[in-house]
């Protein structure tokens, strides 16, 4: 009976059934088998309305989508280009930085690829960067920024991890602080590689002071944003949810009322796009709250640890296994659902092995970031393939050096906890 159910659910999953329905089915079956009514699942789901940190998700997502729809991406590229364009590999570095900031705000890596790819790919090719390098760089950069304030997956990790009342607690702002250096590491390493690739390319002249000033003025309304968020959160004056509210309100006023790049009649459409993503994530989260409770009642994480302890006795061994595991699941599930489903299982086990819950969050996101464009089925391969009009196999081949570089970064991040924890503990 159980075997038949498992096979049925796996088959439905493989055929493309919505993830939330699969989780709901498992939760309903589990609760009913445990002698509770299905109403208990509804009660667990309703806990969504009882999580203060959750407010940050719709607010930051809205801000990100509004910025994406406005001319902000173009201004961002212009400004970074004026500042860094003259460096060796300058335009590539511009691409990496712009993608990072953009993904941090939208939380959706595919959106970055689509929105910024359109601007950056022709620019890179025009500056005579090799085609293969350009494709790989943009595909890889698309998911960069998941570790940076105010990335939505990072908030999601915090929300899920807070269910476990760990000591020390997993505060969202602690995660934001922890992500800073690891994200910087990836940007720097990618920039060095880019500079090396571009060493023989003709270098554009340094932008005139006038162009820099014009670019700064052009982006004057957006410029304060990262600083307000960073300063607000790092100084402890604003909680993550408040920073989200301030950002959403500010961006709404700037894009709709001041710059008017999003016309008022278009606003409901943009809001709908953003909330569609939020809704798709929250509904998975709601059912996984029920599932998590059921798993904990059944001592599943403890049993999992029991099984693993037999084979793996060191923290290093555990982390190595975790890396491999997360890469595969990040590829299959993309970022959001992988966090929602895996954190409840992995976090209790990781705590037994002595992994800091904040560090674990950074490891999670760093791995998922690669998983998202990992062959054969990472989502961003197909998005890049559609966006740049190249077959998926070319995208994969172009991304090969970038897998190696980012994998190296992930290993450093995993085995050097201080890099993540220096600002936190």
């Amino acid at each position: 009976m159980i075997v038949a159910l498992v096979i049925l659910l796996l088959l439905l999953a493989a055929l493309g059934a919505p993830l939330f329905a699969l989780i709901a089915a498992i939760a309903l079956i589990g609760f009913t088998a445990g002698g509770q009514s299905g109403t208990a699942v509804a009660i667990e789901f309703y806990r969504l309305a009882d999580m203060p940190a959750l407010i940050a998700i719709p607010l930051f997502t809205l801000a990100g989508y509004l910025l994406a729809e406005s001319e902000a991406p173009r201004r961002l590229v212009r400004l970074t280009n004026a500042l860094f364009g003259w460096l060796p590999g300058g335009l590539a570095i511009v691409s990496v930085c712009a993608c990072t900031l953009f993904t941090a705000f939208t939380g959706a890596t595919g959106v970055t690829l689509v929105a910024l790819g359109a601007v950056l790919y022709p620019a890179l090719r025009q500056a005579q960067y090799p085609e293969r390098f350009s494709l790989g760089l943009l595909t890889a950069s698309g998911s960069l920024g998941l570790l940076l304030v105010p990335s939505m997956p990072l908030i999601l990790y915090g929300v899920v991890a807070q269910q476990f009342h760990t000591t020390p607690p997993v505060a969202i702002d602690a995660l934001f602080k922890a992500g800073l250096l690891p994200c910087l590491l990836m940007i720097v390493v990618l920039s060095i590689y880019s500079a090396w690739i571009a060493r023989s390319l003709p270098r554009p002249a340094r932008s005139s002071g006038r162009e820099v000033w014009a670019a700064v003025k052009d982006a004057a309304w957006e410029l304060p944003l990262p600083f307000v968020i960073l300063a607000g959160i790092y100084s402890g004056r604003l909680a993550a949810s408040e920073a989200a509210a301030a950002t959403a309100l500010y961006v709404l006023i700037v894009t709709v009322l001041i710059r008017r790049e999003i016309k008022l009649p278009e606003l409901p459409r943009v809001i709908r796009e953003a909330m569609l993503l939020v809704g798709a994530i929250l509904i998975v989260l709601g059912f996984s709250l029920a599932l998590t409770n059921w798993l904990i009642d059944g001592d599943v994480p403890e049993r999992l640890f029991g099984i693993m302890k037999a084979g793996i006795d060191s923290k290093i061994g555990f982390l190595l296994l975790l890396n491999a595991f997360l890469l595969v699941f990040g590829m299959l599930l993309e970022g959001f659902p992988a966090i929602i489903i895996l954190v409840p299982l992995v976090l209790p086990v990781a705590l037994h092995y002595g992994v800091d819950p904040i560090h674990l969050g950074i490891i999670f996101l760093a791995n998922l970031q690669i998983g998202i464009f990992l062959p054969p089925v990472g989502m961003n391969i197909f998005i890049a393939s559609a966006r740049f009009g190249r077959p998926a196999t070319s995208i994969i081949r172009a991304s090969l050096p970038f897998y190696a570089i980012l994998l190296m970064c992930v290993l450093i991040i995993t085995y050097w906890p201080q890099l993540s924890l220096v600002f936190v503990r």
Binding site: A17, V114, L276
Partner: protein, 174 residues
């Protein structure tokens, strides 16, 4: 974006409700910060109200995601199916989702019933108090029922899009 013609008005209500609720959420959260930082005060009802708004916007967003086929799913195998097999897979998986949503609509109706009865009891039979006790969660049965309906309608409709792109999806030319 095609939709069942008779349900067009429902779509309009849904979109506008979503936009209005989100704007209220933004304005209210913004006001709370201003009140806290500059006046060291705050509205006591605002926090639970905002959390309720998150649930409402989340459910409406999830409902909208059904129409655009944007619910998170593994689409690994689908790529390898023949078109007729894809159509069958769509009927089966969306039918499954419709069933689950219908079940959840029923169970969350039970939850609303429990809290309504409890609110009635603790307030000594005042209808408004009972209504307030179960108002936030009333989106659950409504939302799940509408999702069940929409999943059922979309079982036989063609898929809406390629996955997870914003609306501009033209290819870049060099």
């Amino acid at each position: 974006m095609k939709s069942a013609g008779g349900l067009e008005w429902l779509r309009m209500i849904e979109n506008w409700l979503l936009a209005v609720l989100v704007l209220i959420l933004v304005a209210l959260s913004g006001a709370q910060i201003v009140l806290r930082i500059f006046f060291e005060t705050g509205l006591s009802w605002a926090d639970p109200f905002s959390r309720g708004l998150v649930l409402w916007t989340g459910m409406l967003g999830a409902l909208a995601a059904v129409r655009d086929d944007k619910h998170i799913a593994l689409d690994v195998l689908q790529r390898f199916l023949s078109p007729p097999a894809q159509r069958i897979a769509r009927v089966v998986t969306l039918g499954f989702a419709a069933l689950l949503c219908a079940a959840m609509a029923w169970y969350s109706l039970g939850l609303v019933g429990i809290d309504y009865a409890e609110g009635l009891q603790t307030s000594g039979g005042r209808f408004t108090a009972a209504l307030r006790a179960c108002f936030a969660e009333s989106i659950l049965p409504v939302g799940f029922a509408l999702m069940a309906l929409r999943f059922a309608l979309r079982m036989f409709a063609p898929p809406a899009h390629a996955p997870m792109l914003l609306h501009h999806s033209e290819t870049v030319s060099e």
